[in-house]
């Protein structure tokens, strides 16, 4: 019994080494260090995913250039009729006394306050959990991990009932306050702070007589920057796209974010006597995603590094 296993193990080990080594050992010539091998299957799969994500975007861009009648009478994935993009944009911005602009500024307001606040809270909380020991830390950890698993949508109705008792529904706070809570952001900052801030640095700062707040804001916050940007992007996207929460919290169109507002425009088509404005809904959607795309392109570097950091530790 022992003999065969012995031979088998000794037999497999060198074999494994042998198969591994050729991939690593023949070092690639200098200069062409990172040319990954192509896999047809992966390329095709990635191609499909790219198509899947780009075609709707292409559709959106193309159809934003059409008038309402030509929208309905032409093929979806190609241009048709007059190039009405500028006209559509102008009408989107002025339709219903320019309510779109109001919705845009509402959305910005929610993002700045909600996502900004969520990022700050995540940073403070994550740093505290990573660098301080206190009783109940494991409990907090369990709660945070559990909270990551609960989608915000599931909490929207209970939150609504609670907020309406507090008289907060139909005010912007009903959207901002729930947006401040980001369990995932907290978790990310926690793992990021544990990695990025050496304990020695904190000790040195304390020895030099710096207060805890000073240490956090002057020493640690700069070290946390990549993580902060990641969390900021995450929470901004979540708040920008937030639909269900504002839908049930807000009844006054003056406080709608873009998502709920555009849906209201879309619903005009199913209303008796309603004004059918599919072209404005499409153009409005295009305008809505432009800031998000811009934010992604500008902050892409941080986003990647932050994700990787979270991934390694997570």
């Amino acid at each position: 019994m022992t003999a065969p296993t012995g031979t088998r193990t000794t037999g497999t080990r060198p074999a494994r080494l042998r198969t591994v080594r050729p991939r690593v050992a023949p070092l690639r010539p200098a200069g062409r260090t990172s040319k990954p091998r192509r896999s047809v299957l992966l390329t095709v799969l990635t191609g499909i995913v790219v198509l899947y994500s780009l075609v709707p975007l292409l559709w959106l861009v193309i159809n934003a250039t059409k008038t309402q009648p030509s929208l309905l009478s032409s093929f979806g994935l190609w241009f048709d009729g007059d190039f009405a993009l500028w006209d559509n944009i102008q009408r989107t911005l002025t339709y219903n006394d320019g309510i779109f602009v109001r919705w845009l500024s509402n959305t910005l307001f929610y993002v700045v306050l909600g996502a900004g606040g969520a990022t700050l809270l995540s940073a403070v909380g994550g740093y505290g959990l990573a660098k301080f020991n206190f009783p109940g830390k494991r409990g907090v950890f369990a709660v945070v991990i559990g909270a990551v698993a609960v989608p915000g949508t599931a909490l929207a109705v209970p939150t609504f009932l609670m907020f309406s008792q507090m008289g907060l529904t139909n005010t912007p706070w009903a959207v901002v306050i729930p947006s401040l809570i980001s369990p995932f952001g907290l978790y990310l900052m926690w793992t990021f702070a544990a990695e990025a801030i050496p304990d020695e640095l904190l000790e040195a700062a304390r020895l030099d007589g710096a207060g805890e707040f000073r240490i956090f804001f002057r020493v640690c916050l700069p070290l946390l920057a990549p993580g902060l940007v990641t969390v900021l992007l995450f929470t901004s996207v979540a708040t920008w796209n937030n639909y269900f929460l504002p839908l049930i919290m807000l009844k006054d169109p003056d406080w709608y974010p873009l998502t709920v507002g555009l849906n209201a425009w879309n619903a005009q088509a199913i209303t008796a006597g309603g004004d059918v404005v599919f072209n404005l809904v499409i153009t409005g959607s295009l305008l809505t995603i432009v800031p998000l795309i811009a934010a992604f392109l500008l902050l892409q570097r941080y986003w990647q590094s932050g994700l990787a950091a979270g991934g390694v530790k997570g």
């Binding site: 529904t169 639909y243 209303t271 008796a272 006597g273």
Partner: protein, 444 residues
């Protein structure tokens, strides 16, 4: 796709929760006698002024609010579009359950009104002597705002049904416009044979359409007496409809395009959907949504079950109601009255809405209006006649909003599988009855 599905599940949950909560709340808050308001009280409220909040999606109300504020400068009306149809009802139920943020006036479709009335969420307008409006409104909508002994809203618009058809398509293939449902089925076959791209109409399962069709056929599947409810889709009227419509579905003669979608608007414009049997509010939507159909469409009376008949039904339509939780009911009533029975009715008709008042329906200006969209036809003559011929005795369930929300899970199957329409209706009946029992109704 997944996101959307999840969202709709939660919306449904939210709605269900709200319904349960509303049902719970109504049990305890039944105060019995209602406060009475005289005409002087209402006038006093107008003189004193104040602010009221109105939840409505009807576009013509914007002008009505402006006029009202001009007439009564001390009154401010906040007109809020809190969603269309069931979205607004969910919001309204939520607000009522939560006890805050309830509007002073709410637009509620006739099919949904019994639900709010029975839960006592809406004020019985008999406390404002609204019964004196008997005769002011046409019979269909006036019956629709009644529930039991009470009047729970004033009719704002109505949707007596008619046949809207694309004349160009019928002329091109030399097919006569149907006047009976038999002719309708024959025309459906002829059109689709002449051009496989053309369908007589589109239908993928629409609770409002199905119930209205059964209504016209003389069916009375819902019988409601307080909390005693009977649901029975095996009566003759219901069978009449299912037998005829089943032919169209089985022979694939109805276009599988969802109503109110962009393809639907497209089909109405390019001639591939040749007719609509729908409420009289449709002209405004055709004009704004189907510019390509201008001059091609016409209006004819609804096809009949018996040649020479005159039966019609209501499809859609809504009234304004005053939630019991509202703060300023006298002022709310003043606005409701203005918007539905007084100057507002005229303003709204001019704005393209289909009226519910007999005065507007019989005014020469209204009847003689020529619609360039309908090739100069005096379409209102047909529609106003339809309003007079609505079959009486119809009622909706006191939980029709929920029932309609599950229509596609049950009857919808008949459109996409081998399930028969009549079996689908049976499944709908059972599912509705089960829900009703869970809500505390005595069903069947």
């Amino acid at each position: 796709m997944i996101r959307q599905r999840r969202r709709s599940v939660f919306t449904a949950l939210a709605g269900a929760l709200a319904l349960v909560l509303a049902a719970c709340g109504s049990g305890g808050s039944d105060t019995g006698t209602q406060e009475q308001f005289s005409a002087e009280d209402v006038q006093a409220a107008l003189d004193a002024g104040g602010t009221i909040k109105v939840w409505a999606w009807e576009p013509t109300l914007k002008q009505v609010v402006a006029d009202f504020q001009q007439k009564y400068p001390k009154v401010k009306v906040e007109l809020v579009n809190a969603g269309t149809g069931d979205k607004q009802y969910t919001a309204l139920q939520n607000a009522i359950a939560a006890g805050s943020g309830v509007p002073d006036v709410a637009q509620i479709e006739y099919y949904a009104l019994p639900q709010f009335a029975l839960a006592k969420s809406m004020t019985d307008l008999k406390s404002f002597e609204a019964d004196k409006f008997e005769g002011t409104f046409s019979t269909g909508p006036w019956t629709s705002v009644h529930a039991g002994e009470g009047i729970f809203g004033l009719p704002m618009d109505s949707g007596p049904m008619a046949l809207f058809y694309n004349k160009e398509v019928f002329d091109k293939h030399g097919i006569a416009v149907p006047t009976t449902w038999d002719e309708y089925a024959t025309a459906a076959r002829a059109l689709h044979t002449a051009d496989p791209k053309v369908y007589i109409t589109s239908d993928t399962g629409d609770a409002g359409f199905t119930t209205s069709m059964i209504w016209q056929a003389g069916g009375k599947p819902y019988k409601v007496d307080g909390t005693n409810v009977k649901i029975d889709f095996s009566d003759e009227g219901s069978q009449r409809f299912t037998t005829m419509w089943q032919q169209l579905i089985s022979e694939k003669l109805v276009s599988p395009v969802n109503g109110w979608s962009d393809q639907w608007y497209q089909g109405l414009g390019d001639g591939s959907i040749a007719t609509l049997v729908i409420g009289a509010w449709m002209p405004a939507n055709l004009q704004s949504g189907v510019a390509a159909g201008a001059g091609k469409w016409r209006v004819a009376p609804m096809p009949q079950w018996e040649a020479g008949g005159k039966a019609t039904a209501e499809n859609g339509g809504s009234g304004l109601s005053i939630p019991t939780a509202g703060a300023n009911k006298a002022l709310a009533y003043a606005f409701t009255k203005y918007a539905t029975a007084e100057e507002g009715a005229t303003t709204r008709t001019k704005g393209g809405a289909f009226p519910a008042t007999t005065a507007e329906l019989s005014s020469q200006e209204f009847l003689n209006a020529e619609f360039p969209y309908f090739g100069g036809q005096k379409a209102n003559e047909v529609l106003a006649q339809s309003a007079k011929d609505v079959v009486g005795g119809w009622s909706y369930l006191p939980f029709q909003v929920y029932a309609n929300s599950i229509f596609n899970d049950t009857v919808g199957k008949a459109y996409v599988s081998d399930t028969k329409l009549s079996d689908g209706l049976k499944a709908w009946q059972e599912a509705s009855a089960k829900y009703g029992k869970d809500q505390g109704f005595a069903v069947n």
